[in-house]
């Protein structure tokens, strides 16, 4: 040992796992690739442009915010890319170019950075921005006419009493936002996230099961599998349940809280879809449930080892 070499000293433990925030975000991006690819194939190059603008806006906004707020530039953790991608996937394929720009700025600046950056936001940035856009630009955000499809989304058709092709809905050959149409592509990504351990089943499955039960009871079709599957495959439910309700920052950290969170999501989405003016409701369900998280966490703190928690 050289005389001038000082040893590093720290509190235990002295080793760290290889997991990092950036790697987790990279897994989410990889998991979104099937959905992204399908969206581009399904809707054409315009979808690719919308996605690119959305991602670029989110990353740039975060860089500018960090510079202005004199914080360390944090885009290396890739969370802005995830937000941008999710926001883009929640846009209509032929969205005018200003929509992803406004949405990206709102998501990163207002929802994320003003609250203190990653980990501090109280609602999912992509969904916060989507809801902002739907309210501000309702016509543009719900215009799903594009080169490939004209006309209404499958959920709108169902409400109007029209026939829908269930197989097309599951594969994703329908109109809708870029990333929401293909149940299969979304599930491929979800399975990947489950396998690498980035997410677990609690929130998505509680959400989906609660939703099915709610719809079975209140939608007026009973437990009709054709109707229920079309409700699951239609709209943003799959994308929301697997990729946005599972967002770490805005879901409860406690296991019991995650069950409660999933149930609230299922009930809210059911209410919005059955009784609401819109046929959709996933985005609003998730951001409302996001706001309840601090309360949920407070009442669901686990029992510790030796006080009843040793088996859970």
């Amino acid at each position: 040992m050289g005389d001038n070499e000082l040893l590093k000293v720290s509190s235990n433990p002295h080793i760290r796992s290889a997991i990092s925030t950036g790697k987790i975000m990279l897994c989410v991006i990889i998991a979104l690739l099937p959905t992204t690819a399908f969206g581009i194939i399904n809707f054409g190059y315009k979808a690719a442009i919308t996605l690119a603008i959305s991602v670029a806006t989110c990353v740039l906004t975060e860089i500018v915010c960090c510079l202005v707020f004199k914080k360390k530039i944090s885009v290396g953790d890739l969370s802005a890319v995830v937000t941008g991608l999710l926001l883009g996937l929640n846009m209509p394929p032929a969205a005018p170019f200003y929509l992803p720009i406004i949405g990206g700025i709102f998501a990163i600046f207002v929802v994320k950075m003003l609250f203190g950056g990653i980990g501090q936001n109280i609602m999912n940035p992509a969904l916060g921005a989507r809801c902002f856009l739907v309210i501000s630009f309702p016509a543009a955000m719900t215009n799903f006419v594009c080169d490939a499809y004209s006309g209404a989304t499958p959920l709108a058709k169902i409400r109007a009493g029209e026939e829908i092709e269930l197989f097309d809905m599951i594969v994703g050959r329908t109109s809708g936002t870029i990333g929401e149409t293909s149940m299969i592509a979304i599930l491929i990504g979800a399975v990947f996230l489950l396998l690498v351990g980035v997410i677990d089943m609690i929130v998505p499955m509680t959400y989906i099961v609660t939703f099915i039960i709610f719809m079975g009871i209140f939608a007026g079709y009973g437990f009709n599998s054709y109707y229920l599957v079309s409700q699951l495959a239609g709209g943003g439910l799959m994308l929301g349940a697997w990729f946005m309700a599972t967002d770490y920052v805005t879901r409860p950290v406690t296991k019991a809280g995650q069950f409660v969170f999933g149930i609230i999501l299922g009930v809210l989405t059911g209410i919005f879809r059955v009784f609401g003016a819109s046929v959709e409701g996933v985005s609003y369900s998730i951001i409302i449930a996001n706001l309840l998280v601090p309360l949920i966490e407070r009442v669901t703190y686990p029992k510790s080892f030796g006080r009843g928690g040793e088996r859970r």
Partner: protein, 439 residues
């Protein structure tokens, strides 16, 4: 057979292959040995020698400072050169007896007992107490106190902690490979103190050879069972071990005896055997010297009081300059600022690492992933406790069961944002414990 385990825990790189096949080697200390008076939980020992006195190997140099305390013995013959504060592994200065080694190793006479079963319980405990035996797994709790619960009849299990779940450590493993009989005889001595107890040898399944040997050696012992534990850190943590082997759970306000259990680690049980059978005080222990910077990782039988710096030389020296040196395992050991500190009764390893994973990455914001709660063996939510600790919220910290933390380090290990969760929780716990003590 079902493997015994607990909820939570982690699977870090275990590094045991570096030293597990290296037999225990006896080494002789250098010129100077240092004996801190506080090598155990409880009152410091009181010196009974003075500067200039000549001492023999095995001679008591400091007596117990109370009931919860333990005497200290010279591990070499020589002359007391000083009684002064010296630096110990934690970085603190602690009053210590310094002995100059005369290299003669003249020993006192020990009082052997051929037939251990002829001894009364009181005599056995007295012998253990006299020998200065303390928990050698790291805590350093005086063993005679542990072996004197209020109601000895209510002890159902005496558990030998053979888990050795800390990465890199192989000292207990070598003991079990080379001297399993001593471990079993030691456990039988403990069992003789508790008429209604069964003995459990709890071994992780990465030491299957030990499981085989121990099973073979105990097949005619109706009171001793060998239980296989799943390899996972912190399987050897006292509360988790009791749960894994007996399905009984104790919280931080309880003692193992409250659940009818007594837990001792391998080296401690061998020390009990040596104390009762041969009348030998605790003055040696097995230390693993390892890490990627060590040229020849080894397991040494060390005379307690020997300096860590001498161990590095005995292990072939350094391959490259270490960035971090740890006394103990990487999960719960102490980072050293100086290697010229003495080995003590609780020194299980010296670990020299070429990388310091802690200072390599800056902590970033918590993303609320919940991994810390998933791995926490205490089943609390470290990220919430750490936030409360950072804000000085003592009330909230207590309400969220912050005192249940065993400081195992799993949360800091797993955290993707590389936050110092264990450190924050640990310092809050320290503050609260210090306040309780003052009251």
């Amino acid at each position: 057979m079902a493997k015994h385990s607990f909820m939570g825990g982690i699977h870090p790189y275990d590094g045991k292959e570096l030293s597990k096949d290296r037999p225990i080697v006896d080494i002789l200390p250098g010129k100077e040995l240092v004996y801190p008076l506080s090598q155990h939980i409880g009152a410091p020992a009181k010196p009974i020698v003075a500067k200039g006195d000549t001492v023999l190997r095995g001679q008591m140099i400091a007596e117990a400072g109370g009931f919860v305390s333990a005497p200290i013995y010279a591990s070499v013959s020589g002359k007391v050169t000083a009684i002064e504060p010296r630096r110990i592994v934690t970085g603190d200065m602690v009053m210590s007896i310094v002995i100059a080694n005369d290299n003669k190793y003249e020993e006192v006479e020990y009082e052997e007992t051929e037939d251990v079963s002829s001894l009364s319980k009181e005599v056995i405990i007295e012998k253990i107490r006299n020998a200065g035996v303390v928990g050698m797994g790291g805590a350093g709790f005086p063993t005679h106190v542990k072996l004197s619960p209020k109601e000895p009849d209510k002890i159902d299990y005496c558990i030998a902690n053979c888990a050795e779940c800390e990465p890199y450590l192989t000292s207990d493993y070598r003991r079990m490979v080379e001297e399993p009989e001593k471990l079993i005889e030691g456990l039988k001595i403990i069992l003789s103190l508790f008429d209604n107890a069964k003995g459990i040898l709890a071994v992780e399944d990465n030491k299957s050879d030990c499981i085989e040997t121990l099973k073979k050696l105990t097949k005619d012992e109706p009171r001793i069972l060998v239980k296989t534990l799943r390899t996972k850190y912190p399987q050897g943590s006292e509360r988790q071990l009791i749960f894994a082997t007996t399905k009984r759970a104790i919280n931080c306000d309880m003692l193992p005896a409250d659940a009818g259990c007594i837990v001792d680690n391998v080296d401690t049980i061998v020390a009990i055997y040596n104390a009762v059978r041969f009348g030998k005080p605790l003055m040696e222990r097995i230390v693993t010297v390892t890490g990627d910077c060590i040229r020849k990782p080894q397991n040494f039988r060390v005379n307690i009081g020997m300096l860590y710096s001498e161990l590095i030389g005995e292990a072939g020296g350094l391959r490259y300059d270490p960035v971090k040196i740890v006394s103990g395992g990487p999960m719960m050991g102490f980072g050293l600022i100086d290697v010229n500190v003495p080995t003590t009764k609780t020194a299980s390893a010296l670990l020299c690492l070429a990388r310091d994973e802690v200072s390599e990455v800056e902590p970033s914001a918590c993303i609320n992933c919940g991994l810390c709660a998933q791995v926490c063996p205490g089943r609390v939510v470290p990220k919430i406790l750490s936030d409360m600790a950072e804000h000085g919220d003592e009330e909230g910290f207590l309400k969220k069961e912050g005192m249940e933390c065993c400081e195992c380090g799993c949360c800091s290990y797993i955290c993707p944002a590389k936050r110092h969760l264990t450190q924050n929780i640990k310092s809050m716990r320290k503050t609260i414990l210090a306040k309780r003590k003052r009251k």
